[in-house]
Symmetry: C2
Subunit: 149 residues, 2 copies
């Protein structure tokens, strides 16, 4: 009953796996080397830096940074140890926690951002034509729509 992948699909699938893994590895290596953080932490810091007053509820932060709640909890605990994030109790819902980006934390992403963007360009955008970038955007948006939530 299984509809196996035909030769074209196999090739596409393996190209997809390899390419996305290469991009992710390149990102992680660059960030780890130059900024001593994994990409997941970078995404958390970026999400916080874009929030009003650089503060956000944990659950919303998890959604924006594409992290599970548990992963976020652990990550924020580590970021707190580094002094990059602080946790405030939420006044209107006392179960809640609010993650706040500290000045040191802001300095950390500000320092990391240029190298990261350069790596994003190097590993993805530079090789593609404008048409390919547009196509990729639509493909990814489609995949998001089918898998999200």
């Amino acid at each position: 009953m299984t509809r196996w992948l035909d030769a074209d699909e196999q090739r596409t699938w393996r190209n997809f796996l390899t390419a996305t893994q290469l991009v992710n590895e390149a990102l992680d290596r660059q960030l780890q080397r130059d900024a001593a953080m994994p990409h997941a932490y970078y995404m958390i810091l970026v999400a916080l830096s874009e929030a009003p007053e650089r503060r956000m509820r944990m659950s919303e932060l998890a959604a924006r940074a594409q992290s599970s709640q548990s992963r976020l909890s652990h990550a924020v605990a580590r970021l707190e140890e580094r002094g990059w994030v602080r946790r405030d109790r939420c006044p209107e819902d006392r179960r809640g926690n609010i993650a706040v980006l500290t000045d040191d934390g802001f300095a950390a992403i500000a320092a990391a951002a240029p190298g990261h963007v350069a790596e994003v360009r190097r590993s993805l955008f530079d090789a593609l034509t404008p048409d390919q970038v547009r196509a990729l955007d639509e493909i990814c948006a489609t995949v998001r729509n089918t898998l999200e939530r």
Copy 2:
């Protein structure tokens, strides 16, 4: 001096990160749930199952399964504990090890494959048009060419 991402590039980049992460999470969840193995192990077993006599040098296996050598060593150690893989010493180069897929190991991927393929279709191919699949293939091939080796 940094060339920041413009709004379109930002959107594409975030769609890319989200979409690829969603696909990877879906794969991992399905395999973990139905076959009790992470995707990385699945790729190792598939690579072995396609090799002549289902055996391959560790370093070649690492390349085919897109794994670092260290990761492969650890993974094969675990797969050996499950009785899915065996390690033979390599006669013509005594530094070398040859990973061999056991019958149990072959049975394990044979059992896992249909569910995995279904998930691959569900999370990637089903949502895309044939043109999009072709475009994705080329994009990924291009990325591989720029990042590989």
